[in-house]
């Protein structure tokens, strides 16, 4: 029985279009550290895709770097980053934001479906001792979409939360490690979900969705971009042969490749979730993109693992399935058959 990969989209390989772009960039010599034509082209591509002339893009290697560096430029070192209590920056980055942020702290907020709710944000504001230097001052709202549990904020929700944040002087960051999946699912424009909604800086994921070794920071605020120029360097995140990261990102954003790859992963998840529901399996939240958590009998977990389905148990009775751009409809049907057999 062949194995089927549902552990993480991080386990997937590289999209052929991306690998081809890397190979194509391996021609002649080029200035290092971004002084090359691929990096210039990427800058123009991002401006076009996000419909924003003054945008700046900084390729970095990891989503953790994108998040922590973005936040370090948005949050003063005595400030507080507000995020959902399940946010990746809070739970899965070993304190990178506090380190690169010079001691900035994070506060987790509640909210159903793993999303910050307007009520939770308002309550955080109400309980803050504003202007009291004994208390960390809320300075940035960081949203993750899709969340680490596969749910997605609508454009209206981002807009409302950002407006509330801005009303108290906060900046807004979007952790878009899987941004393509969110945009593909929402069918909105990249601009609508980001700067038009009030977002200042995004972490733009690419690695989980077909790139080889690059994510990026996309900043819509020139003053923040001016800081990032130095912050990215002194954290060791400016690759010398940057053309090979820029070429990946340029290919990724060209002709909607990123959205097509993201849509593939989403479609696989939609098919999977429908099948699981048909099998009476309880989902913790309706999947908005390419990830789902399900509650199952503990015994089922081992049977599924034995059936060559690769996934992560997230507790005694909880499992997580993640699809990627490489997950096919056949893969999904195979998984569903194995689940049915295991039930």
């Amino acid at each position: 029985m062949h194995t089927i990969e549902l552990r993480s989209d991080n386990c997937a390989g590289v999209a052929p279009e991306i690998l081809a772009a890397v190979a194509a960039a391996n021609t002649g010599s080029a200035l290092a550290y971004g002084g090359d034509e691929w990096s210039a082209r990427l800058q123009r591509r991002v401006a076009e895709v996000f419909e924003c002339e003054h945008v700046a893009v900084f390729p970095v290697t990891t989503g953790t770097a994108a998040n922590a560096l973005s936040l370090s430029a948005l949050c003063p070192p005595w400030g507080e980053v507000l995020c959902h209590e399940t946010a990746h920056i809070l739970r899965n980055e070993c304190g990178a934001t506090s380190m690169l942020g010079g001691g900035a702290v994070m506060r987790g907020l509640a909210g159903p479906d793993y999303r910050v709710s307007v009520e939770a944000l308002q309550q955080a504001f109400d309980s803050t001792r504003w202007g009291d230097n004994h208390a960390s001052q809320p300075s940035v709202l960081s949203l993750t979409s899709p969340t680490d549990f596969g749910t997605v904020y609508s454009v209206a929700e981002v807009t409302e939360l950002a407006a509330l944040a801005m009303s108290r002087g906060l900046r807004v960051h979007l952790d878009g490690a899987r941004l393509a999946n969110a945009i593909a699912a929402l069918g909105c424009s990249p601009a609508d979900l980001t700067w038009r909604a009030g977002v200042d800086v995004i972490s733009l994921g690419a690695t989980k969705n077909g790139a080889l070794s690059t994510d990026a920071i996309v900043s819509f605020d020139p003053a923040v971009s001016a800081q990032l120029f130095y912050r990215v360097k002194r954290a060791g995140h400016v690759a010398s042969k940057l053309r090979f990261q820029s070429a990946q990102l340029d290919a990724y954003l060209t002709d909607d490749l990123w959205l097509r790859l993201g849509a593939r992963a989403n479609e696989a998840m939609t098919r999977l979730a429908a099948g699981l529901t048909a099998l009476q399996i309880e989902l913790l939240a309706a999947p908005g993109a390419n990830m789902v958590f399900a509650r199952v009998e503990p015994a089922l977990i081992q049977r599924l693992l034995d059936a060559a389905v690769l996934f992560y148990p997230m507790g005694p009775d909880t499992i997580r399935f993640v699809t990627s751009f490489q997950t096919t409809a056949d893969d999904v049907d195979d998984v569903l058959a194995r689940v049915q057999a295991a039930l």
Copy 2:
């Protein structure tokens, strides 16, 4: 007239063996963050190449990351890193070591040929107020070889400097952004130039010498490695699809590819330096590897640039030439002809 690239080895492309290794690793799915077979193989490869069972390797994206993270694990935050006054960590990394090192400081030492001398190190020790908490305490000696000016420390020199450093309780770091060039030039074993000489941790460059997007930290001290495991992550330097960096490094270290690539660059430089000398051009230091600085008539600089030779002026009468694994004997002969014409 075709351009010839002598600005930096960073301007070179990717070695075909490395690109092939990346393509070959793009097969099936694999665990993220180093839980893959390529990363395991790399770990064994490094142990074999460096003849050291307890070594640990951490692929990172840049030399700056490798340096600053290595030093952050070797130096207490109140400590002082001693290095040559021309060292890359001091002059070209935007303070990364102080930032990732939690406020650690650097002190530049003198020494001929851009190398720390035993005398300068001894003098630094003599002028230190040891045990006085008003004074930053020397805690790490960081050597760069080849230096940023193309000179190389011999095995005996590294050994003597490291012994002196250790006699005062310092740890020893080697910035090996071009380590393959140094080892190829010296004809020594990797172990002899590193841990057998007293070096605790090295920054192992690969990008300048044919890799696509990876350098590495190689730690010979398990206690330091245990720290790096967390330090690398929280600085955002653990790539999710690490297999593609590990595959590059594994190919790089296999069958002496790194040394063959380094030797090619060195040979081109040897040829170039001999030709320049024959043309009566003064070299600031005899090139030990693949870089040389030369003193020329100011007018010559523009004439050479006009002749499609790509290089960096480093002052009104100083120029730098860097060869790479892609520089051919024909390239060198062409350059020499253009220099002669420009004289």
Copy 3:
């Protein structure tokens, strides 16, 4: 009607014995930065009072400095400090621990009566992904006693929590901003509540309990003390005329002055709490030392403030009373009379 101060023990003045010690130290010249006889005497005094030969004491100006510097020496920068969710370090120090700790993070735990419970600590351990570098690693348990809500850990409780913490490799810190009040209330020896119970480092408060301008770090671990020697300096916390801080602390710890002052504040609180209870006022927790929180009718708050009782409302129906070594029985009786009148 004269005002009665119950806002904070920080609002009290200086004990006459302490002021006399400062004046007495103002004689002749003395070496700066701790090379004076008062500092040497303090070191011996602390060893005697805590029955520990290898103890080290570092006078600092604030409790925030004592806490954050202690934790910076106990916690690696990628580590996590566990504390109660109401702890001062988490809620009232503007992220000092994350800043001086180089990016270390804090996690708030639950527990009744504002104290970390064994169950909450065990649950934190159970939910930790130990050895996973994506997750901040619990490294220090920081207890506050008395808590910021006036409750106190018994010696047995500290011992049990410290043992559990040590079983997972954590170090133990005690925020003793009001340690004298706790020891006076428990009637235990300073050693029993600290190092004999498994505590590695304490923040020893003095300012709230009669000192002029000094608190201290007391470290029972020589390796940590060796770090603190440098950490305290580079955070700007080594006063040049240290003799005047040492003289305060020496007087404070001599002839049980600290415990007598603490007992006075405690006795005033005991009298106050008894009186409030007699008036049917609900206390949020039985006061273990010199602080109490009470639930009252919202309207009562303004009436009490109008009656020249100085205190802090902590919410629409919650008030806090803090007694100090300067609070007399007459003060308490006056307050109770005014409360009764306001009811």
Copy 4:
């Protein structure tokens, strides 16, 4: 033979006016953390003394704290602080500026008489790779006056250096650990030497010149002050019983006490230097305030120490004498007699 103290002004005691102010402030209760009347009065006093309405004053415990916190608010974490190569911040503060500055670095400049020269500053600017993110960007000029070697910048010199610094966008900091001595020596107004000369923030020393335990940051830039409000707190430098520091500083600045104390120390030094010169002893620089370095026969050093003169040898043939507000003319004459005897 009685000892005479010339090691440091840090060895002196407290001026009686200051001690009296502390005792006078020990009356009744007062709000903590600066919400008291003494702190409000200090704020007005500083505005009056410095002739600047929008000034803000932050009492801190040490000069190191004043310097490093000031610089952390003036310098971005990727920036570089320029100072003289003998500056206290560079040589004597254990890297506090890099730590509290989030990784900011320092660069030492040359200049005769231990003062930054216009030429050295211009040369630093000329050699800077402005706007290159591999290079730390000069962001603050920090001057020390009097220097650690007893020389003083004139108002014109500060003005010229500040203007040059501002022309390249740098901010200007003045380390005034002994500012009263400088102002007393120059006979200028506090405003002329500081904000009117282009200085943004000063470290205002008081401890060396008669205070008990306080120095201060004085900020002339409201945007910087707004940062310092939080930065001072999270570094643990906001004393709870701040009234006792504010009362010291208020007394210090009242009726020119600071200048009178400084003038006393200066006069003692003038008398001492004249006497040493008469004895043919070579001074390294003419003393501008209350400190002098002299070159002497090595044998003389021990003879002087044996003669109960307390001072610091600064090398085999160099000694340092520092006078304080407590040094009398008789003390000076005694020292000179002992020097003559030892010659």
